[in-house]
Amino acid sequence: MIAFLKRYEGLWLFVHSPAAIIAAIVATLIILGAVFAPWLALVNPYDLASFSLFDGLLPPVWQDGANPKYLLGTDDQGRDMISSILYGARLSLVIGMSALAIAAVLGVGLGLAAGYYGGRFDAIVMRIADVQLALPAILTALLIDGIARGVLPPSVQQDLRVAVLTLAIALSLWVNFARTARASTFVQMNKEYVQAAIMMGQHPVRVMFVHILPNILGPLLVIMTVDLASAILLEATLSFLGIGLPADSPSLGTLIRIGMQFLLSGEWWILWIPTLFLVALVVSINILGDFLRDVFNPRLR
């Protein structure tokens, strides 16, 4: 009985944490909205013919001059805010999650290997991590963008902006994973089950991925949630610095960047609605991250 409950302790904790429940609901709603954006959204922001400048700058319905068709108003291009946000969340999540996946694979792989082999290999990986940390994310993004432009034929460049940005964000995030994986691996290396596996003569790759990896997933999962939030924010920031996505493929960050122009002009909704949305998403993800941390580190409860 106790054993059973212990096993689903996470679930139990979850049911008794209102913050986590609300966060999960918000995050789920946003993610669902993002996934089903094509069916939920009034217009497709990618389909230029589906909206018109004629409808530009309409306020949300509760303000004068609104068009009830656009519940939260329109932006300066006549795009429905709700549609933009749904599609924006979709893009932000895709970028965030793919960046995270790349960062996790790269970081965990290198971190595991550094922790496993130690010594010189470890030193090299950590110095590479230092180099990465010393490069501001904006420059990484610029460089990746630059390489892509130099290497790829022009016709695909525009399509690859998302990939380029994703890669740049991933490169700024992998160090976190590498450091955590490395530190956890060092701890695991002293555990006897690892020694048993090495002793048997198992291949290092098997030891790392079959034996060690499942045991260090806890802290990595926490990093994942926190970094997903960072990735989404980083994308917004890069967009602000002008090296994010083009305005016609609006991520949440791009929407906020565009909205910044209307901070003072009276069209507050163009900035604040996407910002609120982004904050809701990021806060939810962070709360879930905190929650996971508590689950994995019961001593902090």
Partner: protein, 565 residues
């Protein structure tokens, strides 16, 4: 006088309140050392924590009285309780490595504590601290008081801990496993110190320990606990010499004696569940089939291991640290060699060299009649990888907690290519579980669903599924309670006899080695002090070191205790 009556402590949890201790009664007179003994989960530490008011949240005292003299400890406000702590009741923790603040000098910690409870000047407090350190046997105390905790050895550190506990002249000291982390020689000194303090300063000690030998040696009275309840209480000689409660008797039976060898431990059949022999037959047959033929011995000649020391200068090469120094020993085929030594003697390094985890810097190893390459020179597919298996000390870390028992047990079968079919592997694994005394349905579970003893059985099963000829047991029972230790030792003995295994049995516990080993080697600072037949060594030790080890090990001499009743 510390009086505990009907003490119950509960830990409310999401699964309902868990009663950690229930109806505990105990009286400790000034100057008395009161032993509190029991296995893990007995609630003995909870008693101590309740007395000093340090119950881990969310535990609370549900009922009972706690009195120190006339003072009702339960009636104190948190501030009063905190002022009382240190002043009247103090505590000594198990591990001297972790119980001192690493960032503060001994001096600061002592002065701070003294000044917390008495209004004295810093210089007076310092003088008192120095005197106290001298008193408890730290030489050159006025100098050494300026040092940080890490600059003291383990034994000295525990003395400092004791100094901190007594610097405010408390009436009661709760000593929670005060010597468990120490080597025998140091343990003996610390125990003597406690005895002296009780006598000279009339301090009442609550000595919490799992080691009956320690109790037998210094406790005046003893209380035996199990699962939160008091089983038996009384004079030490009476309780240990003529136990009335069956649990106490069973506990006493499980303690390995140092002075003679017994064939098997008597254990109450409890944890190693009743398992039909027939189920284990399959595994037994499979093992016997693989181990037919002569046993395999191990010979180490002039084996040395050096580790690189910390580099301190660009110009000089760092001084190497010698872990093993010219070790030569032979494990006779089909026998058990016991390897004893204190912590840092190189016992575990030796195991790691044999298993190939550590590269020897010199010497040769011969397994059976083939030379055993060391370290990275040993290829991953070397036959010794299968022939030599190991049972580790810590059953909590030696099984991958993210793998099911099925995966853990099938791995060697799959890896060494013994059994190709997954289903056949599983059947064999189930049978092996039965052979080591585990129910076959364990196969679907995860390691954390088992107790330490059960896990160690699983670890043994895993080792056996590699069809080893040579088994290394590195402190296989030191993390286990004494009754579980007895079960595991019995199991190992049975298996060894059945399959003709050769075993290198590493332990710091002289009594355990005496029960297990045919031959014994005594290791100290990486050198062999003495090696020979176990009976010879225990009966007539040659090396001074061995002699002192044997002399200092606290023993429970039942005959003597019985005589005192």
């Amino acid at each position: 006088m510390l009086t505990i009556e009907n003490l119950s402590v509960k830990f409310p949890s999401r699964f309902g309140a868990f009663t950690a201790i229930e109806d505990v009664d105990m009286v400790i007179q000034p100057g008395e050392i009161h032993g509190l003994v029991g296995e893990s989960g007995a609630g003995k530490s909870t008693v101590g924590a309740a007395v000093i008011g340090l119950l881990q949240s969310p535990g609370y005292i549900a009922s009972g009285t706690l009195k120190l003299g006339d003072m009702d400890l339960r009636a104190l406000t948190p501030e009063q309780a905190h002022a009382m702590r240190g002043d009247r009741i103090s505590m000594i923790f198990q591990d001297p490595q972790t119980s001192l603040n690493p960032l503060m000098t001994i001096e600061d910690q002592l002065i701070e504590t003294i000044q917390a409870h008495s209004d004295v000047s810093t210089s007076a407090a310092r003088q008192r601290a120095v005197d106290l350190l001298e008193e408890i046997g730290i030489k050159n105390a006025s100098e050494r008081i300026k040092a940080y905790p890490h600059q003291f050895s383990g034994g000295m550190r525990q003395r400092v801990v004791i100094a901190l506990a007594i610097c405010t002249d408390p009436d009661v000291i709760i000593a929670d496993e005060p010597t468990t982390a120490l080597d025998v020689a140091v343990q003996s000194q610390v125990l003597k110190l406690i005895q002296r303090l009780a006598k000279d300063r009339k301090i009442a000690f609550m000595l919490i320990t799992h080691d009956i030998g320690v109790i037998a040696q210094i406790a005046d009275r003893v209380t035996v606990m199990r699962k939160g309840r008091v089983m038996e209480t009384g004079d030490t000689a009476q309780v240990l010499g003529a136990p009335k409660h069956p649990y106490t008797r069973a506990l006493m039976d499980a303690v390995p004696p140092l002075d003679h060898k017994i064939d098997r431990f008597r254990v109450p059949q409890e944890e190693g569940a009743e398992v039909e022999d027939a189920l284990g037959q399959h595994a037994e047959d499979w093992l016997l089939e693989g181990v037919r033929g002569a046993s395999t011995g191990l010979m180490l000649e002039n084996l040395s291991v050096k580790f690189a020391g910390p580099r301190t200068s660009l110009l000089r090469k760092p001084e190497p640290y010698v872990a093993l120094d010219d070790v030569t020993l032979t494990v006779r085929p089909g026998s058990i060699l016991g390897l004893v030594g204190e912590s840092g003697s190189g016992k575990s390094t030796l195991a790691k060299v044999v298993t190939g985890l550590v590269r020897p810097s010199g010497g040769t190893m011969t397994l059976g009649d083939a030379v055993l390459p060391g370290g990275k020179a040993r290829p991953r597919n070397h036959p010794s990888r299968q022939l030599v298996q190991m049972v580790f000390q810590d059953p909590y870390s030696s099984l991958n907690s993210r793998h099911r028992i099925r995966d853990i047990l099938s791995e060697p079968l799959w890896f060494y290519g013994f059994v190709k079919e997954a289903e056949a592997r599983e059947r064999l694994a189930e049978s092996m579980l039965a052979l080591v005394g585990m129910p076959p349905d364990a196969i679907d579970k995860y390691p954390h669903q088992f107790s330490g003893g059960q896990r160690q059985r699983i670890a043994v099963a895993r080792a056996l599924l590699a069809r080893p000829r040579f088994l290394i047991c590195d402190e296989p029972t030191s993390a286990l309670d004494v009754s579980i230790q007895a079960e595991i030792l019995n199991l190992l003995k049975d298996l060894q006899a059945k399959f003709g295994l050769t075993i290198l049995f590493i332990s710091h516990n002289l009594a355990v080695v005496r029960q297990m080993a045919d031959d014994t080697a005594v290791l100290r600072n990486g050198r062999i002090e003495e090696i020979g037949r176990t009976e010879d060594i225990y009966a007539a030790p040659q090396a001074d070191y061995t002699k002192s080890l044997l002399a200092l090990t606290p023993v429970m001499d039942r005959a003597m205790l019985q005589a005192r009743v």
